[in-house]
Subunit: 250 residues, 4 copies
């Protein structure tokens, strides 16, 4: 554990069995991490894993779509880490995916996607941006970073993916706007377009890319990319990159 | 008034003193038009104008962000034009623009943009897509069309434009998704990126493009572009175009 | 024939059996047109067609990739239309398409695509931009226009389409640069992404879009779009649009 | 020096005082590196630097725009490293930049940009792709990688940047095409959009970003990004990323 861990912490919103878990494990090599999920069974196992590997982790139940729930969570974090500054915040929440004809949808579908995606990211950013700005003055070795998980649907509105794409496009818009406002103040905001199926328990049975080896994205590979983004020098920030399997059609 | 007017009608959501008015006047040369706005003072004058020019128009008060209000409006339209099919639907609603630092915003801002932009467009499309599909079978001279007004913020999340861009990006995502689902069924969905200040009473005092002549977009120019999109042959649909003054920096 | 024809003319580079022919026929309704192609058998038939319809047309053999050949052609045009100004110039030349593995190519392939696409467009623009600028002062009803035919490969480098895409991307780059330099001086430069198979004799046997009616783009539909672009008011120029069949996957 | 150095080597085309030098130094920590430049004074100093740091390096004079010159260089490399396979090839050549009005240019300008950019990259890729494919079978820890340096002009045709943007767009097209053809065969092709002024001796006097610290891109920061791209797992390849100073307007 680096000496960074005495001064800084990281927070990951949206953890479970995939990207969020891998990202938490990766950032826990350098920082105490706080895991946010709606239910404790999403983070309990990861907290244990991190602790077994000698890292520090705590899980907090919170609904990112609810400003009150999220600010309560950040108050808890403040008590947990009263003297630590925020080094990195990762927004990995998603939701509102419906693979239906537009004719079978109703207004709840577009609202659900808004809530899970853009509203949640907005709330998260409202909490972490002031902290990240505050960390800039502490001159950390890695510029304070806000990382956002996007998807193919962040840049492409496919048939039957309307509401989900609406939510993902909106998150991307916000991430650009935050990068442009807070980049010049020293905060690194980056958006990753995850353009493929992630290799997690839920996708085990999916037949993608003809079942070729590494045809699904290893969550650890995403986590390494996120860590790299976090370590970029401020003279060379990446705002957006894509990540996909070597065999993916695009 | 063409013979089209006996069989078809057009609807424009979001009329006032700018693009909506010009579009309504333009489409009224071919079709009876229905104008939707929250308040009757937004459409009363336009209805009169159209009638004075020998066209047919009716205004209906409706809140596009409210599914109930909007479906009531479409029931009224059904009574108004019981035998007519929908030739063209134009979504020109916008809202949620705040030119503030992200740090001065709160969750109401992202919700307001969602409501005014993506939720409203979703509701509007839910009402018009079934009608437009129904019109395909009537083999109109111009393929049934859904046109959507976008903005610079549809493709760029500028600093201090976060919530507005989120809403506009989301509308663009939906328009792509609808184009991909319903294009093959004969419905033309197109999105116009209006990349400049529109020349309307409200922007009279704006000093844009150094005050050069035609440095703001004439709403009538937008209306002509919309009419052209409506008349495109189905073998050559445009899904997206940009519109900006010749002197605009881009 | 409109009175425009007394003052202005149009030139189309790259005519044959498809887009170029349709565009020439369309613009010939308003202007005398000059057709450029390497061989006279590419334009002779079109010249006749236009004349039979009461229009004026002349064909000139020229190689757009060769600056000398092209400037000679424009000297011939000057003699043909000594008092006319240029209203519209359409660049419809293409070439360099090889559908081969990169491993089977050699340097001649990338050179050929450069020559046919970017070099040809550069040469063409070198000749027409000064004329179009000169036309601005004549205050024509339609702003002087330079239209450029692009393709799917203008925005996407597909496998096995490398050299062709390189040429098409390069043309798009130039068209943007010209739009940004000469738009503010009153010249309208627009780029059309033709995203589908065009319905011409050569593609007769192609099975595209499952053979559905209008599954290939009618060249006349492209021509109508070009004409529309030419007529846009300078307060609302389109720099880029896409054109594809309603049934095209995109 | 890792054990990788016994089996693999890297090649960097286009070295001098900036990105190429930093990339060479970075990759020399893991591999013997070959430096290509037209003149030996571009690489002599870097070769010395690498050797002083305990790395292996050799410089070869070659003109990437000339297929013969380049294939001779690769024959020399073969003699230099008869048993080594290619781990990474970096294309960092650029040229053809003219900041002039289009009206002041001539055909040599577009040809020069083609030669320096797309033709050079084409030639380079013709030499390295077969080698990179051959390396895939050796199952290196890092997938064989072809990295390409792009610029703002790779995605934006600004006024007065026409020929340069044409060349840069073309290189980007080729890089996409190669990624799509050879990614599935295990070769990682990535394109970096360097969106800012690089901090090199030549730009010392440039006043960019109001002279703020780190307002120019540190070449070492670019090199770190390239190294990271090289180390990505094949289940999560990045095809494109942008790199710019935190204070850059974009």
């Amino acid at each position: 554990m680096s000496s960074l861990s005495k001064t800084f912490y990281a927070v990951v919103a949206g953890v479970g069995s995939g990207t969020g878990r891998s990202v938490a494990l990766r950032f826990a090599k350098a920082y105490p991490v706080v895991l946010l999920a709606r239910h404790n069974d999403s983070y309990d196992g990861i907290v244990s894993e991190i602790q077994q590997q000698g890292g520090q982790a705590v899980g907090i139940s919170a609904d990112t779509s609810d400003p009150q729930s999220l600010s309560t969570a950040f108050e808890t974090i403040k008590k947990e880490h009263p003297d630590k500054k925020l080094a990195a915040a990762i927004f990995n929440v998603s939701g509102g995916l419906t693979f239906k004809s537009f004719l079978e949808l109703n207004v709840d579908d577009i609202d659900a996607s808004h809530k899970a995606n853009s509203r949640s990211f907005f709330n998260f950013a409202q909490n972490v941006i002031p902290q990240l700005l505050d960390s800039v003055d502490a001159a950390p070795p890695n510029p304070p970073t806000l990382l956002v998980t996007g998807a193919t649907a962040s840049v492409r509105g496919s048939a039957r993916f309307g509401p989900f794409a609406a939510g993902k496009f909106a998150v991307r818009a916000l991430s650009q706007s935050l990068a442009r406002e807070f980049g010049p103040q020293g905060v690194h905001v980056a958006h990753a377009i995850i353009d493929g199926v992630i290799d997690i328990p839920r996708t085990q049975g999916y037949n993608v890319n003809e079942g070729k080896p590494d045809g699904k994205i290893a969550p650890d590979a995403i986590a390494e990319s996120y860590w790299y983004l976090h370590t970029q020098h401020r003279s060379g920030f990446t705002q957006e990159l894509d990540i996909r399997p070597y065999v993916e059609k695009f």
